[in-house]
Every structure is written in C-alpha cells, then in structure tokens.
C-alpha cells in the first residue's frame, strides 16, 4: 500500500459533529450546519468535499458549501437522491453526523486572484462554488470581476437566492439566472445555463471559468466558452462519481487514469475533455 497517502490518523475514522441548524432550501434540498464536537476549527479549501454519514446510514461524498474563513461552522447542502442522503435528511437539530475529510483537490483559487472569474452552476452544482462567493464577500477585490451564471430546472429549484441577490446588490457578483422549465410567475431568462454564455463579454486572457453541475451541462458549457475564444486551460470542472474511500484506494470513483476523490474533484477541462464522451466511464 505504498500509494496510500500519509495521514496523521486513520483516515477511515470519522469525527462526530452536531447539527446546529437544518434548513430546507427547496423541496428536495436541505442544508446542515455542523459544529465539531471537539470544538477544533475545521479548515478546508473551496471545492473540497467530506464523507458524511448518519450513524448506521452509510456514507456519501458531499461538497463543502461553507465559508472557508469561518472554520467553526461546516455547511453541507444535500439533495435527497439515495439511502444515505435520505437518512441524513431525517436528522434534526442536535443530532449527530459523522464526518471524514476534507478530501480532494479544490478550485485553483491562487490562479484566479485579481482575475475575472465566471462561475457556472447548474442545479445542485451551486453549493461547491459557494465558498468562492464567501471569499469574494470577505476579501473585496480578491477577484477582478466575479460573474455567476446559474441555472436550475424551475424557479422553485433555485437555491440560495437571498444570498445571491444580496451579493448582487453589494456589487460583489454579476448575476445571470436562468430556469429550464417555464412557469407563469418567472420573469427572468428561460433555457439552460449554457444559453446565458453568448450574451456575456470578457477578456479571454484574464478570465477563468469554474463550473459545477450535470456533466453534460459542463461539456456544452466548455464548448460555448471555447467558441468565444476562451483558452481551454482556463476552464475547470468539479466532477462527481460514486466515492467510497475518498483517498484513492477503492477505485469506485475511477475515471480512466484518475481517481475523482484524490486527483479531483476539480479538474482542468483540458485534462479530462477526452474522457467526457466515453461511454460507461
């Protein structure tokens, strides 16, 4: 096991956290605000993830959605899609959650310092990008411009809108929102998030794109930016696969030569472009 990373402790032993708050974000999405029982600060990099479990309910990889400058509260936003997230959804305030992490490579934030950063989020893909919004809020001027293109299925599926409108009002972000399914009370843009790309203008040399959402959305998103002459190496994806060990041993999250948990979840588009259209990968 010479490829096993050098962990100070057994990487499979989780730490207990207590739920300080549980928030319903949409009919199928909720957030857990967690505080470590040992009161020690929990540091992470934007884009990293944790393995979360309800006691006896199995583990799932969930990206971290909290403010990286506040290591005392850990926030995870989850969509109920399987047994683990269903078990976690049944927990309430003061219940315990087991956490292993943080794991993986996050967003290359040093690369985008004082640059224009375009975040492209689709559906439940927004939470892994939230730490970047908190960085922008706490360190005004960290990014030259921060643009968020956000798409969801319906108006009711849009997450964190009060926060996004607040950041827009404070001129921290430029916000473009689009929904995919028409409803009479929606007055904004219709269509998938990729349809927002042709309308925005940017300086190709000074602009980077970070994206998280359905893989097919990210694929088309990258093509739309490349069509606007953005260099491929300026585009980064956060990928998702079924992660189990989270440290690159078990192979559940293998994507050809990569382990999403260890080599990702954030990848330069250039590195994985050729793998995105391969069936069954």
């Amino acid at each position: 096991m010479d490829h096993l990373p050098d962990f100070p402790e057994n990487p499979f032993i989780p730490k207990p956290f207590v739920i300080e708050e549980k928030k319903r974000e949409s009919p199928s999405v909720f957030s857990l605000y967690l505080r470590p029982i040992d009161q020690l600060p929990f540091y992470f990099l934007p884009g990293q993830f944790n393995m979360l479990s309800a006691i006896g309910g199995g583990e799932a990889a969930i990206s971290i959605a909290s403010d990286p400058t506040n290591p005392h509260i850990l926030i995870h936003t989850l969509r109920i899609v399987g047994n683990v997230t269903k078990a976690l959804s049944k927990l309430d305030k003061n219940d315990f959650v087991l956490v292993r992490g943080p794991y993986g490579r996050g967003w290359p934030i040093d690369l985008v310092k004082r640059k224009t950063l375009i975040l492209v989020a689709g559906g439940i893909g927004l939470p892994p990008l939230l730490p970047l919004l908190y960085i922008a809020q706490k360190n005004k001027g960290y990014f030259k411009n921060l643009i968020l293109l956000y798409g969801a299925r319906t108006k009711d599926d849009l997450l964190f809108m009060p926060l996004l409108y607040k950041l827009k009002a404070e001129q921290i972000i430029t916000l473009h929102v689009s929904v995919d399914r028409p409803s009479r009370d929606w007055k904004g843009q219709f269509g998938t998030v990729t349809a927002l790309i042709p309308s925005i203008s940017f300086d190709n040399k000074e602009t980077f794109v970070f994206s998280c959402g359905p893989e097919i959305m990210m694929r088309f998103m990258a093509r739309a930016f490349i069509q606007k002459n953005l260099p491929k190496e300026h585009i980064f994806f956060s990928m998702e696969r079924n992660m189990k060990c989270a440290i690159g041993i078990c192979g559940h999250c293998q994507l050809s030569p990569f382990f999403i948990c260890k080599d990702g979840p954030v990848f330069p588009y250039e590195k994985i472009e050729h793998l995105l259209t391969v069936e069954e990968l």
Binding site: G151, R153, Q189, F190, P214, F220
Partner: protein, 153 residues
C-alpha cells in the same frame, strides 16, 4: 431615422462586416424602443421584420391549449430575434413578448431578402452569421429537452 453605420457595426451580430454591407443594412434599418409587455411580433402573422437587440429581454412564447401561453426561450442583449422571414411562408412561428424594455435595430425583412437575392455575396454573409445563432439555439433547445437538472434516474 436610420441608425448610422458606425452604430450598427457595434452590434455583435454585425461585428467585422464590410463597410459596403453595413451601409446596405443601414438603409433599411430603424432604431426602435419597445415597452415591457409589448410584442415585437405575434405568431401566425407575416414575418416582415428582423430584430437585433441592443438592450432588454424578449420571451419567445406560444399558446398551448389548456395550459395557456408558454415561454419557450428568452433572448437578450446582442442577440437576433426572428428568422421566420428567411423561409417561406414567411410567417412568425412564435410570438415575441418584451420582458425588459427593449432597444433594437429593426430591419425591413422583405427588403433584406430581396437584397440578399440580388447580391449573393451579401446574402451569404448574412446567412453565415445567422446559421451559428440557429445552431446555438438548436443546441440550447436540445439541452432543455434533455432535462439536465432533473433528478437522477
């Protein structure tokens, strides 16, 4: 009043177009504003105009029996609205309702079609610019059809 060629060539759709072509377009263009909730055109009516949006947001919509008016897509700044004037029977396939007040360059599509017929190099230049937009809209519609944000199966 016709918009000046220098103003026209700023629009993303016309960027890089040769001066003589821009002058041709300028001769059949007007600069108009539309209030929110007004219509640029209505489904089934004669498609005799071509719009380049400078400002605002437009919803393309259709009537769906028992469900009322449904929005198919929205189109914003820098975009083209309406290409039913290119192909017979030259009738609008959808209605275009203004969501956010619009400023647009509006072209007489009947004249434009005639100019494209008479000068194929001009016609080719217009078609070359319209086809990528059509492709872009087709891709967007396909993605919408895929329901990419839907729950995993």
């Amino acid at each position: 009043m016709n918009p000046s060629p220098s103003l026209l060539c700023e629009h993303p759709f016309l960027k890089g177009m040769s001066e003589p072509f821009i002058h041709k377009l300028s001769a059949i263009a007007t600069h108009l504003s539309f209030k929110a909730q007004s219509y640029l055109f209505v489904e089934g009516q004669k498609a005799d105009k071509f719009f380049l949006l400078q400002k605002g947001l437009v919803a393309l919509e259709t009537y769906f029996p028992e469900r009322g008016i449904l929005v198919i897509q929205t189109v914003g700044i820098g975009h083209v609205v309406g290409w039913s004037w290119i192909c017979p029977p030259f009738l609008w396939h959808f209605s275009a309702r203004v969501i956010d007040p619009v400023d647009a360059f509006v072209f007489d599509a009947t004249c434009l079609r005639q100019m494209m017929e008479e000068d194929p190099s001009f016609g080719y230049e217009i078609i070359k610019r319209i086809i990528p937009l059509m492709l872009e809209r087709l891709q967007a519609t396909r993605l919408q059809f895929l329901d990419i944000y839907g729950p995993p199966s």
